[in-house]
């Protein structure tokens, strides 16, 4: 199975536009509702969805729904203001879930 995957980037409009330069589709969103809406719309079309951490933290529930499917991969990335630790926290949560203790 070979699908030509598309890449989406969700975040505040100002910073995500930069990803257009590498051929990703960018979507601006500010509120939780907009982001939820976008995610729902994009989930079948895109293989990878990058989402800025501040927004990702707000829609964590929706993101969790995609965790059991291979695609789309919804991945938090830091915004222009730097990281707020949401991405690393996600890894820690995984470890805790799998091993039972945070050993990283």
């Amino acid at each position: 199975m070979s699908v030509n995957g598309k890449i989406a980037v969700i975040g505040d409009k100002d910073s995500v536009l930069a990803f257009k330069a590498v051929g990703a589709d960018t979507f601006g969103a500010q509120s939780m509702f907009e982001t939820n809406d976008l995610l729902r719309r994009l989930k079948d079309e895109y293989a990878v969805i990058f989402i800025t951490e501040d927004l990702a933290a707000q829609v964590a529930e929706t993101i969790n729904k995609f965790k059991t499917r291979a695609y789309p991969a919804v991945i938090p990335i830091p915004g222009s203001a730097g990281t707020n630790g949401f991405g690393i926290k996600g890894i820690r949560r995984d470890v805790e879930k799998a091993i039972g203790a945070d050993i990283l």
Partner: protein, 211 residues
């Protein structure tokens, strides 16, 4: 542990013994699976962590450059120059199987780019150039991160599910079966003894009568 509600018969006993054997075997297999999944997971999650730590700084850095560029030129300009990207990342998505979990497998091909910038230098700030170059360099690793992180997510989920199965077998199914088997054995033995005593009693009564 409560025993199963079964009749204490020889047939039931045989059936339960087969079930116990299956359960024990299943438990061993699942435990092995869990061990191997955890080993794979630890490898991946370490990679995930180092990748993420490496990338996070660079992404913010690139986006900051981009913000600077936006600050000095109009947003229409920037949107226009970026609307026709020169390098388009080609992403092929497959799925591969790690211990029975379908995880994403991405092949990224970046076209060789001698010239990343899709626009002329006139009219755009130099910050935009550096932002675009940084992001282009990042993309491949960013997608690698996506793949690894997703795999970790899915493995963690599967490990948790698997652990529940192992525990259910180890602490519920197998003790319950053992208990029931023991109960049936006792009951059968008791019947046997009862039968024996009765026979002995009858025989001694017959002896008494004959005398």
């Amino acid at each position: 542990m409560a025993r199963l509600a079964v009749n204490p018969t020889r047939m039931e006993l045989r059936r339960l013994k087969t079930r116990l054997a299956t359960a024990t075997r299943g438990h061993k297999l699942l435990k092995d699976k869990s061990d191997e999944m955890i080993r794979r997971f630890m490898e991946l999650v370490r990679l995930n962590k180092s990748l993420r730590e490496e990338i996070e700084g660079e992404v913010s850095d690139a986006l900051r450059s981009f913000m600077l560029a936006r600050a000095v030129s109009s947003s229409e300009d920037i949107e226009q120059v970026l609307s026709m990207p020169k390098v388009e990342v080609k992403l092929e998505t497959y799925s591969k199987n790690i211990m029975g979990v379908d995880v994403p497998d991405m092949r990224v091909t970046m076209p060789p780019a001698e010239d990343l910038l899709p626009y002329a230098f006139a009219g755009t700030p130099s910050d935009l150039d550096s932002a675009v170059i940084k992001i282009s360099k990042l993309t491949e690793r960013l997608l690698r991160l996506a793949e690894v992180e997703k795999t970790c997510n899915m493995l963690a989920d599967e490990i948790e599910k698997n652990r529940r199965r192992v525990n259910a077998l180890e602490y519920v199914m197998i003790p319950r079966l053992n208990e029931t088997i023991k109960y049936i054995l006792m009951k059968l033995d008791e019947n046997e003894r009862g039968n024996l005593t009765r026979l002995m009693k009858v025989k001694s009564m017959m002896n008494d009568q004959q005398l």
